[in-house]
Symmetry: C2
DNA sequence: TATCTTATCCAAAGCGCTTTCAATTTACTT
DNA sequence: AAGTAAATTGAAAGCGCTTTGGATAAGATA
């Protein structure tokens, strides 16, 4: 069913039908009703492409997910973030265009999207510490919101993030308060800004406490279970093994937990662990007493908010860059406890 | 830069430029070169919407992800599948339109997509045992490929799946061969077809072996870590606790592993576990000796293949429904071993 | 009753592309 | 040299919608 057919059926012009459906005032209320009813009856929906052509807007938002190599990790955080954003989009008649792009030619991907007129704006994922995309997107004038921040740049841009630094500082502080001094950090890739900020929070807290940083207690890689396992295993084998771990994601933590139990230790008693919990739906950490002590911040919520921010910007591009910094909640679970001197050394 | 401008710059008509760019034969080779070079220089890309309007195709594929309630689990398998599909799309000039839809009005979502002319085809995720979407999509004539199958329906349609039934039958058989008889199944939601087929494989193998089914050893729910933990914990507390677990996903298995170790048992020695491994990138199970004995099948590969299938169908809708059944590989890891009589009973 | 508003509605142009139908060259035959 | 076929290019229509610039009818004003 196309506009013309609907108009013919109603004995009206396309103009009037279009206006009735789009809520313009120069249509008699009675006519509008008639039109709307007919539209429902015939399940009429304006053709997106035709509408886009006529209005110059595509009613679509691009999400560009960087992938570093062919078989690279797809961060499950994306799925959750997108689930949040998606709600906002469909509530506002927008579509979500997903592109999985080589990190190499990611800029190209954005340019292409704009040139093709495929999207009205984009959400930028996984910003790096000094991410060139910010400058580029401003250049080409494509509205965007970054999930995360870009610390080492002093341009204005819109973003939403949670307070990585503060969260990890607090978490470290908690471990210090429990008496731990040999605290390991098992982090994501530290060229990515979020991981870098987390590390800052960690080092800051240690420095404040007058504890020297030990590079052998810091590990940084893709956030996989395997990364957690191998890093933690290696650290636990050291003569001066850490008594506590600060861990950047639930996935990593699963590996850490495995390493701990392989080492014959018990999490929460012999070794403390604090994780950052993105509240992924398939990794609930919310038993009455959660497994993991965690700093938590809902990625899904961030997704919904980021999407709304972007739509606002598209509606009125003149509004100054906006941003929102979410605070994480610290939840005490069973994975932390006061420092206890181990009776026997590592029984590896 | 739009077609007209480019044509003007070249002193050619839009017609010729369009033809040159789209590879039509009635253009002198020299002219084509000139046009292509200019297109690159000015970074010209045809406007998707205009092109779509003119050709009647949208060059976009829809992926509809069902969500059952507001805070429902987003299966990480989607992310991986989509990463695979995405490669195929961008190699063929297609876009990927993602919709997260209420399972309730999912049919509506498809109708809407078609009416709006937003997509040329869709990939259907998470089919149920008797999924009404098949009939509906055939009705409205939208090309589609199902990731999975719909067992209880005898319509023809295109699908790609891996052999769930066979995989779980083999896995069960392996456990039987190892001497296990009390074998538990911790499955996904069994109204979903894949889970149903897995259960069939499991029950079939047990029946063949003359072992009575024990409903208390079968559990079915969303595939989360929590599900694995609570189900396995409960079963391990029973007087006749299972000595082996068949588990539908890596995530569930993590919970099972936790339950096993909480029960003071050791996986692979006291209790055997076989999982199905979708080869998610952030859960590599491919150490020299993998943690988990597993049936494996790459979801990412399935995504790429499904996408290619769909594009083929769109190119030539007359081709009969096609399908592909992938076989899973069984990999022996350290989570399985021969049945050993436990010295002490469950020490819970 | 004649004029001016206001409320409704419509014809037609235009969004940027593809594609049909024609026109113009050029190449080839005889 | 004349005529025909093949190669190359363009003009213009059309995809389905929005929106500008009237037109018309009804109501208000004087």
């Amino acid at each position: 069913m196309k506009l013309k057919e609907l108009a013919d059926k109603l004995g009206l012009s396309q103009t009037t039908v279009s206006r009735a459906l789009n809520g313009y005032p120069e249509v008699r209320e009675e006519t509008r009703m008639r039109v709307q009813k007919a539209a429902t009856t015939y399940n009429y929906r304006p053709n997106t492409r035709a509408m886009g052509l006529a209005t110059g807007r595509s009613m679509a938002i691009g999400h560009v997910i960087p992938v570093y190599s062919k078989n690279e990790v797809v961060n499950p955080v994306f799925g959750e973030f997108i689930a949040g954003a998606s709600q906002t989009y469909s509530a506002n008649g927008y579509e979500l265009l997903l592109t999985v792009a080589d990190a190499q030619n990611e800029e190209d991907t954005y340019r292409k999207l704009v040139a093709k007129g495929a999207v009205d704006g984009v959400i930028v994922h996984s910003p790096e510490r000094n991410d060139s995309r910010v400058a580029m997107l401003r250049d080409i004038g494509l509205p965007f919101v970054i999930h995360g921040r870009v610390s080492e740049i002093d341009l204005e841009y819109s973003w939403i993030d949670f307070n990585n630094r503060r969260a990890f500082q607090q978490a470290t502080q908690l471990l210090l308060d429990l008496g731990h001094e040999k605290i390991a950090l098992i982090n994501g890739i530290e060229t990515l800004n979020f991981a870098w900020l987390r590390r800052q929070g960690y080092t800051h807290a240690l420095e404040q406490a007058g504890i020297a940083l030990d590079p052998s207690l810091m590990s940084s890689a893709e956030m996989t279970e395997g990364h957690g396992y191998s890093s933690a295993s290696a650290m636990l084998k050291k003569p001066d093994a850490p008594t506590a771990f600060l861990v950047s994601s639930y996935m990593i933590a699963l590996g850490v937990r495995r390493a701990i139990s392989h080492a014959g230790l018990q999490m929460g008693r012999d070794v403390s662990v604090i994780i950052h919990d993105d509240e992924l739906s398939f990794f609930q950490n919310n038993d009455p007493v959660p497994q993991f002590t965690a700093t938590r911040s809902s990625v899904r919520e961030a997704g919904a908010k980021a999407a709304q921010m972007l739509l606002n910007i598209i509606d009125d591009p003149s509004i100054a860059p906006v941003s929102e910094l979410l605070e994480a909640h610290l939840t005490i679970g069973s994975s932390t406890g006061p420092l206890k001197r181990l009776k026997a050394a590592n029984q590896n």
